[in-house]
Protein backbone atom coordinates (compact mmCIF):
# COMPACT_ATOMS: atom_id res chain seq x y z
CA UNK A 1 0.00 0.00 0.00
CA UNK A 2 1.54 3.27 -1.00
CA UNK A 3 1.29 6.21 1.28
CA UNK A 4 -0.60 8.16 -1.34
CA UNK A 5 -3.15 5.43 -1.80
CA UNK A 6 -3.43 5.06 1.94
CA UNK A 7 -4.25 8.73 2.22
CA UNK A 8 -6.85 8.43 -0.49
CA UNK A 9 -8.48 5.50 1.26
CA UNK A 10 -8.47 7.31 4.54
CA UNK A 11 -9.94 10.37 2.92
CA UNK A 12 -12.65 8.23 1.41
CA UNK A 13 -13.42 6.75 4.81
CA UNK A 14 -13.41 10.13 6.41
CA UNK A 15 -15.79 11.51 3.84
CA UNK A 16 -18.35 8.76 4.14
CA UNK A 17 -20.43 9.32 7.18
CA UNK A 18 -22.30 12.32 8.51
CA UNK A 19 -25.62 12.24 10.33
CA UNK A 20 -24.27 10.11 13.13
CA UNK A 21 -26.48 11.35 15.90
CA UNK A 22 -29.63 9.90 14.34
CA UNK A 23 -27.78 6.72 13.51
CA UNK A 24 -26.47 6.43 17.03
CA UNK A 25 -29.87 7.09 18.52
CA UNK A 26 -31.24 4.29 16.40
CA UNK A 27 -28.45 1.96 17.40
CA UNK A 28 -28.77 2.78 21.06
CA UNK A 29 -32.40 1.90 20.76
CA UNK A 30 -31.72 -1.36 19.00
CA UNK A 31 -28.64 -2.63 20.78
CA UNK A 32 -29.32 -4.82 23.71
CA UNK A 33 -32.38 -6.38 22.21
CA UNK A 34 -32.49 -9.73 20.53
CA UNK A 35 -33.41 -8.44 17.12
CA UNK A 36 -30.03 -8.57 15.48
CA UNK A 37 -31.62 -9.24 12.14
CA UNK A 38 -33.62 -6.07 12.44
CA UNK A 39 -30.54 -4.20 13.47
CA UNK A 40 -28.64 -5.53 10.48
CA UNK A 41 -31.38 -4.30 8.21
CA UNK A 42 -31.47 -1.01 10.03
CA UNK A 43 -27.81 -0.29 9.55
CA UNK A 44 -27.57 -1.75 6.10
CA UNK A 45 -24.70 -4.08 6.83
CA UNK A 46 -22.86 -5.85 4.06
CA UNK A 47 -22.99 -9.60 3.76
CA UNK A 48 -21.61 -11.35 6.80
CA UNK A 49 -17.86 -11.66 7.11
CA UNK A 50 -17.31 -8.87 4.67
CA UNK A 51 -17.39 -6.48 7.54
CA UNK A 52 -13.74 -6.26 8.42
CA UNK A 53 -11.29 -5.53 5.68
CA UNK A 54 -7.85 -6.71 6.68
CA UNK A 55 -5.42 -5.66 4.04
CA UNK A 56 -8.17 -4.98 1.57
CA UNK A 57 -9.90 -8.34 1.82
CA UNK A 58 -12.74 -9.47 3.99
CA UNK A 59 -11.73 -10.36 7.48
CA UNK A 60 -10.79 -13.91 6.69
CA UNK A 61 -9.83 -13.36 3.11
CA UNK A 62 -11.17 -14.36 -0.21
CA UNK A 63 -11.80 -17.96 0.75
CA UNK A 64 -14.23 -17.01 3.42
CA UNK A 65 -15.87 -14.48 1.19
CA UNK A 66 -16.41 -17.19 -1.36
CA UNK A 67 -17.81 -19.40 1.35
CA UNK A 68 -20.19 -16.65 2.32
CA UNK A 69 -21.53 -16.36 -1.16
CA UNK A 70 -21.98 -20.11 -1.24
CA UNK A 71 -24.11 -19.88 1.84
CA UNK A 72 -26.65 -17.84 0.02
CA UNK A 73 -26.33 -14.72 2.08
CA UNK A 74 -28.89 -12.16 1.06
CA UNK A 75 -27.90 -9.01 -0.68
CA UNK A 76 -27.34 -6.13 1.70
CA UNK A 77 -30.49 -4.16 2.24
CA UNK A 78 -30.95 -0.65 1.04
CA UNK A 79 -29.47 1.82 3.45
CA UNK A 80 -32.12 3.99 4.99
CA UNK A 81 -31.73 7.70 4.70
CA UNK A 82 -30.03 9.12 7.73
CA UNK A 83 -28.56 5.84 8.92
CA UNK A 84 -24.99 6.41 7.89
CA UNK A 85 -22.44 6.79 10.59
CA UNK A 86 -20.11 9.58 11.45
CA UNK A 87 -17.40 11.22 9.43
CA UNK A 88 -13.95 12.40 10.17
CA UNK A 89 -12.67 15.66 8.82
CA UNK A 90 -10.25 15.33 5.95
CA UNK A 91 -6.55 15.13 6.48
CA UNK A 92 -4.17 12.81 8.24
CA UNK A 93 -4.31 14.81 11.47
CA UNK A 94 -7.85 15.86 11.67
CA UNK A 95 -8.08 17.26 15.16
CA UNK A 96 -10.03 16.70 18.35
CA UNK A 97 -13.31 15.73 16.69
CA UNK A 98 -11.66 12.98 14.71
CA UNK A 99 -9.73 11.92 17.80
CA UNK A 100 -12.99 11.28 19.63
CA UNK A 101 -14.40 9.29 16.73
CA UNK A 102 -11.31 7.12 16.63
CA UNK A 103 -11.08 6.66 20.36
CA UNK A 104 -14.75 5.85 20.80
CA UNK A 105 -14.57 3.43 17.88
CA UNK A 106 -11.56 1.75 19.44
CA UNK A 107 -13.42 1.62 22.74
CA UNK A 108 -16.37 -0.08 21.08
CA UNK A 109 -14.01 -2.69 19.63
CA UNK A 110 -12.46 -3.34 23.02
CA UNK A 111 -15.88 -3.92 24.55
CA UNK A 112 -16.78 -6.07 21.57
CA UNK A 113 -13.71 -8.23 22.15
CA UNK A 114 -14.48 -8.61 25.85
CA UNK A 115 -18.00 -9.64 24.98
CA UNK A 116 -16.83 -12.04 22.25
CA UNK A 117 -14.42 -13.82 24.59
CA UNK A 118 -17.15 -14.13 27.21
CA UNK A 119 -19.60 -15.56 24.74
CA UNK A 120 -16.97 -17.87 23.27
CA UNK A 121 -16.43 -19.29 26.72
CA UNK A 122 -20.16 -19.88 27.06
CA UNK A 123 -20.34 -22.00 23.92
CA UNK A 124 -18.82 -24.98 25.73
CA UNK A 125 -16.44 -25.48 22.82
CA UNK A 126 -13.31 -24.23 24.57
CA UNK A 127 -11.53 -27.19 26.11
CA UNK A 128 -7.78 -26.93 25.79
CA UNK A 129 -5.71 -25.26 28.45
CA UNK A 130 -3.86 -23.17 25.88
CA UNK A 131 -7.02 -21.63 24.50
CA UNK A 132 -8.65 -21.25 27.90
CA UNK A 133 -5.63 -19.41 29.27
CA UNK A 134 -5.22 -17.23 26.19
CA UNK A 135 -8.87 -16.24 26.07
CA UNK A 136 -8.85 -15.35 29.78
CA UNK A 137 -5.69 -13.28 29.51
CA UNK A 138 -6.74 -11.49 26.37
CA UNK A 139 -10.14 -10.68 27.80
CA UNK A 140 -8.39 -9.12 30.80
CA UNK A 141 -6.10 -7.15 28.50
CA UNK A 142 -9.09 -5.81 26.62
CA UNK A 143 -10.69 -4.78 29.90
CA UNK A 144 -7.56 -2.79 30.71
CA UNK A 145 -7.67 -1.22 27.25
CA UNK A 146 -11.34 -0.38 27.71
CA UNK A 147 -10.67 1.33 31.01
CA UNK A 148 -7.77 3.30 29.57
CA UNK A 149 -9.82 4.49 26.62
CA UNK A 150 -12.76 5.42 28.80
CA UNK A 151 -10.39 7.58 30.79
CA UNK A 152 -9.11 9.35 27.70
CA UNK A 153 -12.60 9.94 26.26
CA UNK A 154 -14.00 11.16 29.57
CA UNK A 155 -11.04 13.51 29.96
CA UNK A 156 -12.13 15.08 26.69
CA UNK A 157 -15.55 15.72 28.16
CA UNK A 158 -17.29 13.21 25.91
CA UNK A 159 -19.45 10.25 26.81
CA UNK A 160 -17.59 6.99 26.24
CA UNK A 161 -19.22 4.57 23.78
CA UNK A 162 -18.68 1.58 26.02
CA UNK A 163 -20.84 -0.99 24.27
CA UNK A 164 -19.82 -3.67 21.78
CA UNK A 165 -19.48 -2.15 18.33
CA UNK A 166 -22.96 -2.85 16.96
CA UNK A 167 -22.02 -3.06 13.31
CA UNK A 168 -19.14 -5.47 13.72
CA UNK A 169 -21.04 -7.48 16.26
CA UNK A 170 -24.09 -8.01 14.10
CA UNK A 171 -22.34 -8.50 10.83
CA UNK A 172 -19.41 -10.59 11.94
CA UNK A 173 -19.17 -11.74 15.54
CA UNK A 174 -22.72 -12.95 16.04
CA UNK A 175 -22.85 -15.13 12.92
CA UNK A 176 -19.38 -16.52 13.54
CA UNK A 177 -20.25 -17.46 17.10
CA UNK A 178 -23.47 -19.06 15.98
CA UNK A 179 -21.67 -21.03 13.29
CA UNK A 180 -18.84 -22.24 15.52
CA UNK A 181 -18.77 -26.00 16.00
CA UNK A 182 -15.27 -26.49 17.35
CA UNK A 183 -12.67 -24.73 19.45
CA UNK A 184 -10.68 -23.91 16.34
CA UNK A 185 -13.55 -21.85 14.98
CA UNK A 186 -13.45 -19.69 18.09
CA UNK A 187 -9.69 -19.29 17.87
CA UNK A 188 -10.02 -18.07 14.31
CA UNK A 189 -12.78 -15.69 15.28
CA UNK A 190 -10.67 -14.32 18.12
CA UNK A 191 -7.68 -14.02 15.82
CA UNK A 192 -9.65 -12.08 13.26
CA UNK A 193 -11.03 -9.70 15.87
CA UNK A 194 -7.56 -9.09 17.27
CA UNK A 195 -6.01 -8.58 13.87
CA UNK A 196 -8.70 -6.14 12.83
CA UNK A 197 -8.40 -4.28 16.12
CA UNK A 198 -4.63 -4.02 15.73
CA UNK A 199 -5.06 -2.68 12.20
CA UNK A 200 -7.63 -0.20 13.44
CA UNK A 201 -5.09 1.21 15.87
CA UNK A 202 -2.47 1.41 13.13
CA UNK A 203 -4.93 3.30 10.95
CA UNK A 204 -5.91 5.56 13.82
CA UNK A 205 -2.29 6.34 14.62
CA UNK A 206 -1.91 7.97 11.24
CA UNK A 207 -4.85 10.23 12.03
CA UNK A 208 -4.79 11.03 15.74
CA UNK A 209 -3.75 14.61 16.33
CA UNK A 210 -1.23 14.35 19.15
CA UNK A 211 1.83 12.23 19.80
CA UNK A 212 0.47 11.38 23.23
CA UNK A 213 -2.68 9.86 21.75
CA UNK A 214 -0.72 8.08 19.03
CA UNK A 215 1.58 6.57 21.61
CA UNK A 216 -1.32 5.46 23.76
CA UNK A 217 -3.11 3.96 20.79
CA UNK A 218 -0.21 1.84 19.68
CA UNK A 219 0.68 0.73 23.19
CA UNK A 220 -2.68 -1.01 22.87
CA UNK A 221 -2.51 -1.90 19.19
CA UNK A 222 0.85 -3.60 19.49
CA UNK A 223 -0.46 -5.88 22.21
CA UNK A 224 -3.46 -6.76 20.07
CA UNK A 225 -1.05 -7.69 17.28
CA UNK A 226 0.66 -9.95 19.81
CA UNK A 227 -2.70 -11.49 20.66
CA UNK A 228 -3.26 -12.27 17.00
CA UNK A 229 0.18 -13.84 16.69
CA UNK A 230 -0.38 -16.08 19.70
CA UNK A 231 -3.78 -17.16 18.43
CA UNK A 232 -2.30 -17.84 15.01
CA UNK A 233 0.19 -20.18 16.64
CA UNK A 234 -2.27 -21.85 19.01
CA UNK A 235 -4.78 -22.42 16.24
CA UNK A 236 -2.15 -23.30 13.64
CA UNK A 237 -3.90 -20.83 11.40
CA UNK A 238 -0.85 -20.11 9.25
CA UNK A 239 -2.15 -16.68 8.40
CA UNK A 240 -0.26 -14.52 5.95
CA UNK A 241 2.58 -12.65 7.61
CA UNK A 242 2.91 -9.20 6.06
CA UNK A 243 5.96 -7.04 6.65
CA UNK A 244 3.74 -4.19 7.73
CA UNK A 245 0.20 -4.11 8.99
CA UNK A 246 -1.90 -2.18 6.46
CA UNK A 247 -2.62 1.41 7.32
CA UNK A 248 -6.14 1.25 5.96
CA UNK A 249 -9.27 1.23 8.06
CA UNK A 250 -10.44 -2.40 8.32
CA UNK A 251 -13.89 -1.39 9.49
CA UNK A 252 -16.89 -0.30 7.45
CA UNK A 253 -17.67 3.37 7.75
CA UNK A 254 -20.81 2.39 9.64
CA UNK A 255 -18.68 1.05 12.42
CA UNK A 256 -17.14 4.41 13.21
CA UNK A 257 -18.56 5.82 16.39
CA UNK A 258 -18.97 9.38 17.45
CA UNK A 259 -19.07 10.37 21.09
Amino acid sequence: MTRGLGRDLRAAQLAQARALPRWLEALHGAVGGEGTGDLARLIGVPTRRQVLRIGGLGIAGAALLAACSDEGDPEPPERRPGTTSTTLPDGPSAGPDADIVLLNTALSLEVLAIDAYRRAGETGLVGSAAVTDAFAMFQAHHAAHRDALIGVVEAAGVEPFAIPNPVVRVAFVDPELQAAVAEGDLVRLAHDIERAAAQTYVWATGTLSTADLRGRAMSIGAVEARHAAVLDAIGELAEESPARLPRTNPLPADALVEG
Binding site: H141, Y201, T205, T207, R214, G215, S219, R244, L245, R247
Partner: protein, 191 residues
Protein backbone atom coordinates in the same frame (compact mmCIF):
# COMPACT_ATOMS: atom_id res chain seq x y z
CA UNK B 1 0.71 2.81 30.38
CA UNK B 2 2.91 0.03 31.59
CA UNK B 3 1.19 -2.32 33.96
CA UNK B 4 3.72 -4.98 34.84
CA UNK B 5 7.43 -4.75 35.47
CA UNK B 6 9.67 -7.00 33.41
CA UNK B 7 10.56 -10.38 34.82
CA UNK B 8 13.90 -10.76 36.64
CA UNK B 9 15.28 -12.64 33.66
CA UNK B 10 14.24 -9.86 31.36
CA UNK B 11 15.69 -7.23 33.67
CA UNK B 12 18.97 -9.10 33.58
CA UNK B 13 19.01 -9.11 29.81
CA UNK B 14 18.13 -5.46 29.65
CA UNK B 15 20.85 -4.55 32.09
CA UNK B 16 23.39 -6.31 29.91
CA UNK B 17 22.05 -4.97 26.72
CA UNK B 18 20.96 -1.42 27.39
CA UNK B 19 23.30 0.86 25.50
CA UNK B 20 24.43 4.15 26.97
CA UNK B 21 21.63 6.02 25.29
CA UNK B 22 20.24 9.45 25.64
CA UNK B 23 18.20 10.27 28.73
CA UNK B 24 14.47 9.91 28.43
CA UNK B 25 12.86 13.10 27.29
CA UNK B 26 9.14 12.60 27.76
CA UNK B 27 7.06 15.07 25.88
CA UNK B 28 9.92 16.35 23.75
CA UNK B 29 9.17 16.15 20.05
CA UNK B 30 11.26 13.79 17.99
CA UNK B 31 12.03 14.89 14.43
CA UNK B 32 10.94 12.26 11.95
CA UNK B 33 14.16 12.28 9.94
CA UNK B 34 16.32 11.88 13.03
CA UNK B 35 14.35 8.96 14.36
CA UNK B 36 13.90 7.32 10.98
CA UNK B 37 17.64 7.41 10.26
CA UNK B 38 18.35 5.90 13.66
CA UNK B 39 15.71 3.21 13.33
CA UNK B 40 16.76 2.33 9.78
CA UNK B 41 20.24 1.68 11.14
CA UNK B 42 18.88 -0.60 13.84
CA UNK B 43 16.72 -2.42 11.31
CA UNK B 44 19.73 -3.03 9.09
CA UNK B 45 21.59 -4.33 12.10
CA UNK B 46 18.75 -6.74 12.75
CA UNK B 47 18.94 -7.93 9.15
CA UNK B 48 22.61 -8.67 9.71
CA UNK B 49 21.83 -10.36 13.01
CA UNK B 50 19.30 -12.63 11.33
CA UNK B 51 21.91 -13.42 8.67
CA UNK B 52 24.12 -14.76 11.43
CA UNK B 53 21.33 -16.47 13.33
CA UNK B 54 20.19 -18.34 10.23
CA UNK B 55 23.46 -20.25 10.27
CA UNK B 56 22.75 -21.44 13.77
CA UNK B 57 19.17 -22.71 13.60
CA UNK B 58 17.47 -25.89 12.49
CA UNK B 59 15.94 -26.27 9.07
CA UNK B 60 12.53 -26.34 10.73
CA UNK B 61 12.62 -22.73 11.91
CA UNK B 62 14.82 -21.31 9.18
CA UNK B 63 11.91 -20.24 6.91
CA UNK B 64 10.34 -18.23 9.72
CA UNK B 65 13.57 -16.39 10.46
CA UNK B 66 14.07 -15.76 6.76
CA UNK B 67 10.62 -14.19 6.67
CA UNK B 68 11.42 -11.99 9.64
CA UNK B 69 14.72 -10.96 8.08
CA UNK B 70 12.85 -9.93 4.94
CA UNK B 71 10.43 -7.94 7.08
CA UNK B 72 13.29 -6.07 8.72
CA UNK B 73 14.83 -5.38 5.35
CA UNK B 74 11.55 -3.82 4.22
CA UNK B 75 11.26 -1.86 7.46
CA UNK B 76 14.76 -0.49 6.94
CA UNK B 77 13.82 0.65 3.45
CA UNK B 78 10.65 2.35 4.64
CA UNK B 79 12.49 4.14 7.41
CA UNK B 80 15.37 5.12 5.17
CA UNK B 81 12.77 6.70 2.92
CA UNK B 82 11.43 8.71 5.84
CA UNK B 83 14.99 9.70 6.72
CA UNK B 84 15.68 11.19 3.32
CA UNK B 85 18.54 13.63 3.57
CA UNK B 86 19.90 12.16 6.78
CA UNK B 87 23.27 10.47 6.84
CA UNK B 88 24.20 7.30 8.61
CA UNK B 89 21.49 4.80 7.77
CA UNK B 90 23.85 1.85 7.68
CA UNK B 91 23.98 -0.77 10.42
CA UNK B 92 24.33 0.65 13.90
CA UNK B 93 27.96 0.03 14.79
CA UNK B 94 27.40 0.22 18.51
CA UNK B 95 24.67 -2.37 18.37
CA UNK B 96 26.73 -4.59 16.11
CA UNK B 97 29.53 -4.47 18.66
CA UNK B 98 27.10 -5.39 21.44
CA UNK B 99 25.49 -8.21 19.52
CA UNK B 100 28.54 -9.88 18.01
CA UNK B 101 29.76 -11.65 21.16
CA UNK B 102 26.26 -12.80 22.01
CA UNK B 103 25.76 -14.28 18.58
CA UNK B 104 29.16 -15.93 18.77
CA UNK B 105 28.08 -17.67 21.97
CA UNK B 106 24.95 -19.16 20.44
CA UNK B 107 25.16 -22.90 20.24
CA UNK B 108 21.77 -23.93 18.94
CA UNK B 109 18.32 -23.10 17.72
CA UNK B 110 16.86 -22.34 21.11
CA UNK B 111 19.53 -19.75 21.96
CA UNK B 112 19.11 -18.16 18.56
CA UNK B 113 15.36 -17.87 18.98
CA UNK B 114 15.69 -16.39 22.44
CA UNK B 115 18.02 -13.70 21.14
CA UNK B 116 15.75 -13.01 18.17
CA UNK B 117 12.78 -12.65 20.48
CA UNK B 118 14.68 -10.24 22.69
CA UNK B 119 15.67 -8.12 19.72
CA UNK B 120 12.11 -8.01 18.43
CA UNK B 121 10.70 -7.00 21.80
CA UNK B 122 13.34 -4.33 22.17
CA UNK B 123 12.66 -2.93 18.72
CA UNK B 124 8.94 -2.88 19.48
CA UNK B 125 9.68 -0.85 22.62
CA UNK B 126 11.79 1.51 20.53
CA UNK B 127 8.92 2.20 18.18
CA UNK B 128 6.33 2.42 20.93
CA UNK B 129 8.38 5.06 22.69
CA UNK B 130 9.03 6.98 19.49
CA UNK B 131 5.32 7.20 18.81
CA UNK B 132 4.84 9.20 21.99
CA UNK B 133 7.18 11.86 20.60
CA UNK B 134 7.09 11.78 16.81
CA UNK B 135 5.79 15.09 15.53
CA UNK B 136 4.22 13.89 12.28
CA UNK B 137 1.06 11.78 12.23
CA UNK B 138 1.66 10.29 8.81
CA UNK B 139 5.15 9.15 9.74
CA UNK B 140 3.70 7.83 12.99
CA UNK B 141 1.29 5.74 10.94
CA UNK B 142 4.20 4.19 9.07
CA UNK B 143 5.98 3.45 12.33
CA UNK B 144 2.82 1.94 13.77
CA UNK B 145 2.47 -0.41 10.81
CA UNK B 146 5.99 -1.65 11.51
CA UNK B 147 5.58 -1.79 15.29
CA UNK B 148 2.56 -4.05 15.06
CA UNK B 149 4.49 -6.59 13.02
CA UNK B 150 7.59 -6.55 15.18
CA UNK B 151 5.52 -7.00 18.32
CA UNK B 152 3.88 -10.00 16.67
CA UNK B 153 7.34 -11.35 15.81
CA UNK B 154 8.22 -11.20 19.49
CA UNK B 155 5.08 -13.04 20.48
CA UNK B 156 5.50 -15.70 17.80
CA UNK B 157 9.12 -16.32 18.76
CA UNK B 158 8.03 -16.56 22.37
CA UNK B 159 5.68 -19.32 21.32
CA UNK B 160 8.55 -21.17 19.62
CA UNK B 161 10.83 -20.96 22.66
CA UNK B 162 7.91 -22.09 24.79
CA UNK B 163 7.76 -18.98 26.89
CA UNK B 164 4.95 -18.90 29.37
CA UNK B 165 1.96 -17.08 27.92
CA UNK B 166 2.52 -13.97 29.99
CA UNK B 167 6.14 -13.75 28.85
CA UNK B 168 4.87 -13.09 25.34
CA UNK B 169 3.43 -9.87 26.72
CA UNK B 170 6.44 -8.35 28.46
CA UNK B 171 4.42 -5.49 29.87
CA UNK B 172 1.04 -7.09 30.20
CA UNK B 173 -1.87 -5.34 28.56
CA UNK B 174 0.18 -2.46 27.15
CA UNK B 175 3.30 -2.32 25.05
CA UNK B 176 5.89 -0.40 26.99
CA UNK B 177 6.68 3.14 25.90
CA UNK B 178 9.68 3.31 28.22
CA UNK B 179 12.63 4.56 26.23
CA UNK B 180 15.09 2.60 28.33
CA UNK B 181 13.47 -0.63 27.19
CA UNK B 182 14.23 0.06 23.56
CA UNK B 183 17.29 0.84 21.54
CA UNK B 184 18.45 4.38 21.80
CA UNK B 185 20.73 6.75 19.94
CA UNK B 186 24.10 6.18 21.50
CA UNK B 187 24.68 2.80 20.04
CA UNK B 188 26.51 4.36 17.12
CA UNK B 189 23.56 5.82 15.27
CA UNK B 190 23.39 9.49 14.52
CA UNK B 191 21.90 11.40 17.32
Amino acid sequence: MTTHPPSPERRSFLARFTPPGLPATPGQQLPVTTFAAFAAGIERTLVAAYDSLLDRVSEEVRPLLETYRAHHREHAEVLAGLAAGEDGVGPDEGLVASLTPRIDEISGTSDALVLARELEDRMAATYAHALTRLEDADAAGEVASVLAVEASHGASLGELVEDALDARFPDGAFETTDQSRGFSPGTGAPG
